[in-house]
Amino acid sequence: METISIALFVFFVAFVLGLSFFFARKAKSAAGYYAAGGNIHWAVNGIAFAGDYLSAASFLGICGMIATAGYDGFLYSIGYLAGWIVALFVVAEPMKRMGKYTFTDALDSKFNHKGIQLAAAVSTLVVSIFYLIPQMVGAGVLVTPLLGLPHWVGVILVGSIVIVIVATAGMTSTTYVQFLKGGLLVIFSVIVTGAVLLRGLSTTPDQDGTVPYHKYATIEATVADGKAIPSDPAFRFLDAKEASGSHFVKLENAGKLGWWKQIEKEGKVSLVELQSVVVLADGSKVINGAPASKENQLRQVGNLEAIDGKTGAEATTGSVGPFEFLAKIGSPGTQVRTWKPAKFDDGDAKVTAYYPSITAGSKIMRPGQKFKVEGTPIEKLDFISLMLALFLGTAALPHILIRYYTVPTPAAARKSTIVAIAAIGFFYVLTLYMGLGAMVNAVVNPADNNMSGPLLAKSFGPILFAVISAIAFATVLGTVAGLIVAASGAVAHDVMDRYMGLKLDDRKKVRMGKIAAFVVGIIAIILGILFQGVNVTFLVGLAFAVAASANLPSIIMLLFWKRTTPQGIVASILVGITLSIGIILFSPDMYELYGKVRSDAPIPFANPGLFSIPMSFLTLVVVSLMTAKKPDAKANAELAVG
């Protein structure tokens, strides 16, 4: 299997690099380097849009989130796609009309103002780097199972390849890498979805007989002195801990230590087998009671306990249709076993217990598993905030907006957006099948759900896994290349050429762009290593919030409010960036990342959009009104006389 994976991977990388060197001669001018000469056909650009947009967050992150949180993951698909409506109806043609190479060009088209040039360039850099983090995390996640290399090697590998792609042929090679990747991603997602439907549903998924289904044990227990003592004498009670509102019991069985979850139902106490990772004081890892090794890893999980009220062999469906698949999983009579983590200390050791949780299918197929739509007012506001940022974020992403400069006319910009909506929308429908397919086929890594899509493909055979992994790797390459082009344009074109007034000639502008691409690539590599293990869709959701807060108010007001001033735009961008990032940094989710307690976070919600976007709009209006040029008294007097 590894040979196929490596061969495909090497072939793909060689092909992409060859493509970049082939196009290198076309990228000697600034227009060639930053905007692919503005001559890309709208249909190619539309698929390249899809390749640019369908990032690691879409393929790895959304599939992973659907696999663990059901419909809540699909909310990202809906929000990401809905954002294209804003791009098409409001932004596409004006962006093309007003700009040349970068998003800053468009924003500054009316004013030629130094403040806008700097603020918009900073915003482009911030949003691009926020967006780069999850892509690089995704790269590391992919390379581990594909090539057997550590996470950091994957990150460096992607970073290096992308730097070469961008530095050789800029937007031209980036466009064709994205076109190729966008097309392949959609085609092979259809194949995986088809395979999921053909396999059907079962309560004991065994990957078509290749991996035996592991049945998790339950043992009876009695409570004495607050301790859950197993009835089976083969097990000996050692200790008990409480974490995440659940009780965990440490048992010894035949010299092997393991953690079990204590549950109480109808007055009866029982202990349920779970999975655990224990990191000992010396740094060594124990997985499920035995030392971690290539053979002893966490078991992949996720299955149905009952299908439409049936259990056991009679529940097995055989092949199902696309609607039947969704209906069966969403039935009130279906029970889904998902896995949740709980962390606690055991002396010097750090324990992460992964325990099963049974949820009705009808609850899995509606919002509520991740987003607490029935929770506190703060939790509801957080949900609104996320959905707002997803809706408004797409049209404010600099690496997406620059693709409007690769086509010749505003009409071509519009048509390419429609092609993008078709390709992206279709792909997002498929994410529901791939995510749910992973959820019910025991292919989810309980410690890191990002690999659910590729692992689902692996359950259909090594070739599909190798192809899907290579495509997923291309997914990361395409998006990272687009982000680095956007960031390098911000540095070389917006800041150095226009803001600093260095008046670089074409050749120097391209060289500066290449140097900027190299530096941004290195930053991306470092961040990708630091953020290992965080769900990539979650991170991209935050990037959307920053983009929607920093950029969208300026774009919209510039187009629709004649009294917008350059000072208003600058203030709006700065307030948008500061507020959105400030809220994110002090949110419960980030506190958890820092290793602190969630409830200690000074800001009780994670998604800033609901507050930072209106504040950015408000700032623009107030500052514009304050800085509007006063009517010229002399001119007025002359007019009056006339």
Binding site: K100, K110, K328, V373
Partner: protein
């Protein structure tokens, strides 16, 4: 007025005002459908569990619907823009012919 405009964009777009107006209206319609979706999730999330079509619940139908409606509206928008662009360009072509 525009800073360093792309060369081919300098051609005057006679249908610009119409397309802007149409785009805003279509955006508002879609935004309304989207807001309703978010509102149902918050006000009565249990409604999302109800089976409404071919065994699918409202959450799935509405979610997939939002994706399909986006594409349908995009195609309609493009069609209407094209018709207007051709209508406004036609007299100029006729004159050129004469």
């Amino acid at each position: 007025m525009f800073h360093e405009p792309a060369e081919k964009s300098q051609v005057k777009d006679l249908a610009m005002a119409y397309k802007t107006r149409l785009g805003v209206w279509m955006f508002l319609v879609y935004a309304l459908v989207y807001v309703l979706f978010v509102a149902i999730n918050l006000i009565d999330p249990s409604m999302m569990e109800k089976t409404v079509l071919m065994g699918l619940n409202l959450a799935v139908v509405y979610g997939l619907g939002l994706i399909v409606v986006a594409l349908v509206m995009a195609v309609i928008y493009n069609r209407m823009c094209l018709v207007e662009e051709r209508r406004l360009e036609a007299p100029a072509s006729d004159k050129a012919g004469v």
